[in-house]
């Protein structure tokens, strides 16, 4: 199955890559936070969907929660903040995920379920719970 | 086998035919629109909820799927049991089986929460699931019946008709058992936990399928002006009576065995006595209108044999069948799950309460469009391929009966 997907992607990628070369005519992609992506930019452009699907299965079925290809992390880095300081959906028109996909006529349903904006409070909440859990080990 | 039967496409584009196509097409379109509306807004716009998770679309879908395998019955009688008079009818029988199944499945798919993921349903299987087995049974049914139709229609292949007929016959028995098992496997639901569910569904399929077959037959022959003999109709009418009686019998077995098992008394009281709308539907809709009245119409000498009574009986069997499936599917869910036998339960999630369900127009529209889809496909198919014998006059189809005087012309008309 994976081989099939790869083959498919390899066939389509020239089109996608072509879109990237001529930036002037291609989509305008907002830049991510930091200096580099979780893998080489070129690799990400071509294979992000495969890595995401793989990560999805690893996380949901096997409980693997590495950050590298986590969708949550993509959002953390790639979602922009509006002029008024409020976060903008990563999948809104012109935003990171949509910029390319609209151009390449790809539709994704991921953000029907997945939060499309980063949530800073999340980390703190879980950290607190972890602390509580440490205390709860012996209680009740 | 004196004269070979002549099969002909329906000719002409008369206003009646066009009106039929337009009417059915409109029903199909409104069903699709309803499905789109349900998907777009989410299922909260329907009557379904977290208590009644399967609603009106499932009633229609299950009815159609069950009827599909029953519609094949006429063909089986001809090829498997060698009854010559049914032979001219087997093409239509196969065609109806295919279209009814397609209509039913379309409704089922359009009611999914994520119909856009149909491809997932077809590529990812859980082999333990009865649902997944059914996907194979349905696909196989299409293939088997298609081959069966082909060997009938292709002269060179005619000699394989009996073999193909047998395969189709066995396949459809398994298919209906599979559909029944979808419910039979729900151990937690008091209403469905009965071994008789399989045989009951087979009896239902015989009865609903034949009723629909009779109606379609009478409509097409009436509409095209082709001759249709009384004798063959009467034979099928008597057969329908047998099937209706079988459904009543297995329904009785279903409820009596449940009454025998102490833990099922609650759900039986609900359906048979205290279930309000479900109790009325069961007794008046299913038993009286869908069972006893058709039996009277088909068997009492006063009515027996007349076309009007056969037609009326068939209509009642179809309506009663829909009611029966409604009582099984909706009534079975309305009765609350028993988490704590013998206790009084209450919660914010409606534990311990009989669930309420009010079907929305959208669901009904979607369900009806399944029937319309099936009929539309029939109407188009008989136009482009020779499914219908030019004449079904008694003399034309069963030479043994020519001695009995018949007034109908034996020639093809239209």
């Amino acid at each position: 199955m994976r081989a099939l997907v790869l083959l498919f992607v390899l066939l389509v990628v020239p089109a996608a890559a072509g879109a990237q070369e001529g930036r002037a005519s291609g989509p305008v992609i907002p830049k991510g936070k930091g200096t580099q992506c979780v893998a080489e930019t070129d690799y990400m452009r071509r294979f992000h969907m495969i890595e995401l699907t793989h990560q999805r299965d690893e996380t949901v079925h096997r409980g693997i929660r590495t950050e590298r290809y986590s969708l949550k992390e993509c959002v953390e880095c790639h979602a922009s903040v509006g002029t008024d300081g409020t976060p903008i959906s990563i999948n809104a028109p012109g935003q990171f995920c949509a910029s390319c996909h609209d151009y390449a006529a790809v539709t994704i349903d991921c953000f029907q379920c997945h939060a499309s904006k980063p949530d800073g409070s999340d980390q703190a909440g879980l950290a607190r719970s972890l602390a509580v859990a440490a205390g709860m080990e012996t209680v009740r | 086998m004196a004269t070979p039967i002549k099969f002909r496409e329906i000719e002409g584009w008369g206003p009646g035919y066009l009106a039929l196509l337009a009417g059915l097409g409109l029903l199909v379109l409104s069903g699709l629109a309803a499905a789109w509306f349900m998907e777009h807004n989410g299922h909260y716009v329907t009557g379904m909820n977290n208590q009644i998770v399967w609603g009106m679309p499932h009633v229609f879908a299950v009815f159609l799927i069950v009827a599909a395998s029953g519609a094949l019955n006429v063909a089986s009688i001809a090829s498997v049991f060698g009854k010559t008079p049914y032979k001219p009818l087997s093409r239509l029988s196969g065609l109806l089986a295919l279209t009814l199944l397609a209509g039913g499945l379309a409704v089922l798919v359009l009611d999914l929460g994520r119909p856009d993921r149909l491809i997932v349903a077809m590529t990812t299987y859980n082999f333990k699931s009865v649902f997944a087995w059914n996907i194979y049974l349905y696909t196989g049914f299409f293939a088997v019946v298609a081959v069966y139709l082909w060997v009938q229609m292709e002269r060179r292949m005619n000699r394989y008709t009996t073999v193909a007929g047998w395969v189709a016959f066995l396949w459809r028995l398994v298919l209906t058992t599979g559909t029944g098992s979808i419910f039979g496997f729900l151990v937690a639901r008091e209403a469905y936990d009965a071994a008789v569910m399989g045989p009951l569904f087979i009896a239902m399929s015989f009865s609903f399928g034949l009723a629909i077959f009779l109606l379609v037959l009478m409509l097409t022959y009436g509409g095209t002006g082709r001759p249709l003999g009384d004798r063959i109709l009467k034979r099928m009418g008597t057969l329908l009576a047998v099937f209706v009686a079988a459904v009543l019998y297995f329904t009785a077995v279903q409820h009596l065995t449940n009454l025998y098992a102490a833990e099922h008394i609650g759900v039986e009281r609900f359906i048979l006595l205290e279930g309000g709308v479900y109790t009325s539907l069961f007794w008046w809709g299913q038993v009286v209108l869908g069972g006893l009245v058709p039996l009277a119409l088909l068997l009492l000498p006063r009515f027996a044999g007349s076309r009007a009574s056969i037609a009326l009986a068939s209509i009642l069997v179809v309506l009663g069948g829909l009611v029966q499936v409604y009582v099984i599917i909706i009534g079975g869910q309305a009765y609350p799950l028993v988490l704590f036998p013998g206790m009084e339960v209450a919660s914010s999630f409606m534990d311990g309460e009989a669930a309420t369900y009010l079907p929305s127009l959208y669901e009904i529209g979607l369900g009806v469009s399944g029937i319309a889809m099936a009929l539309l496909m029939v109407a188009l198919a008989v136009k482009v391929l020779p499914f219908l014998p030019a004449s079904l006059a008694d003399a034309a189809i069963d030479p043994h009966h020519t001695r009995t005087a018949t007034t109908e012309p034996a020639a093809a008309g239209a």
Partner: protein, 245 residues
């Protein structure tokens, strides 16, 4: 590919997160770090997570577990009780002979032999190796057969559009969902939100732990006290135990 050093970049944020934990007064991450699984290690069947609920401690009117669950997983009602999702609910039980009333929460019972998993046509309903029963919402087609099969009425269908989801708890229209035992927290070494809330704001009626570890507190309590499970007669081997029910 392998030379690419993405971890160096990530080091910063990981350090920041750890700092956040140390900030919590008086507690260090030490104790759990030993217990929590590394992020890249898959779950195994050596563990079977379960819950024990002491019905005598649970009181009428307290809904700490329910509100914590809703808060944690971003479950917001639309004021339509028949179609709104409920992962955990307080059930009131009354014995008609004695009139004795009991109150306790019911959620997905995380069966060892889950009927929802058996019936699911696509395999979206599944049981993780550590016993947590989940829906893989990526392959759920919304057929709702699992809801028909569940003996506990534990599942909800998402009947309308969802927005403002929690990043760690994605939810969306057209799929079925139920209690995940807060799998995202468990994977990080924390206890489910309901258990935590019951301990902090409720009556301490809920205990979370490893049923496979004979030394765990939950196993000890089950071994010591009279406990039962709901509809154990169905043979589904639920992972949620009740004491004093």
């Amino acid at each position: 590919m392998s030379e690419f050093d993405w971890k160096r970049r990530h080091f910063m944020s990981a350090a920041a997160a750890a700092a956040g934990v140390v900030l919590a007064p008086g507690v260090t991450l030490y104790g759990i770090a030993a217990k929590a699984r590394e992020a890249d290690v898959p779950v195994t069947s050596e563990t079977r997570w379960g819950l024990l609920i002491d019905v005598n401690r649970c009181s009428d009117g307290c809904d700490a577990c329910v509100s914590a669950c809703n808060e944690e997983n971003g479950i917001e009602g639309h004021g339509r009780p028949a179609t709104d999702a409920q992962w955990i609910r307080k059930v009131q039980l009354r014995d008609p002979r004695t009139g004795i009333e009991k109150h306790f929460p019911v959620m997905c019972q995380h069966c060892a032999e889950p009927p929802c998993v058996d019936v699911c046509p696509t395999g979206a309903s599944f049981k993780r190796a550590d016993g947590i029963v989940l829906v893989d919402k990526h392959i759920c087609i919304g057929c709702r057969y699992c809801m028909m099969a569940c003996p506990y009425k534990a599942r909800s269908f998402i009947h309308e559009n969802v927005s403002e989801q929690r990043p760690y708890a994605p939810r969306g229209k057209g799929t079925v969902e139920s209690c995940t035992m807060c799998v995202h927290r468990v994977d990080a070494g924390a206890v489910p939100a309901c258990v935590e809330a019951c301990g902090e704001r409720g009556n301490g009626a809920m205990l979370f732990g490893d049923l496979n570890d004979p030394d765990s507190e939950i196993s000890q309590r089950i071994a010591t006290y009279a406990t039962r499970r709901i509809r154990a007669d169905l043979g589904v081997d639920p992972g949620v135990w009740y004491q004093n029910l």
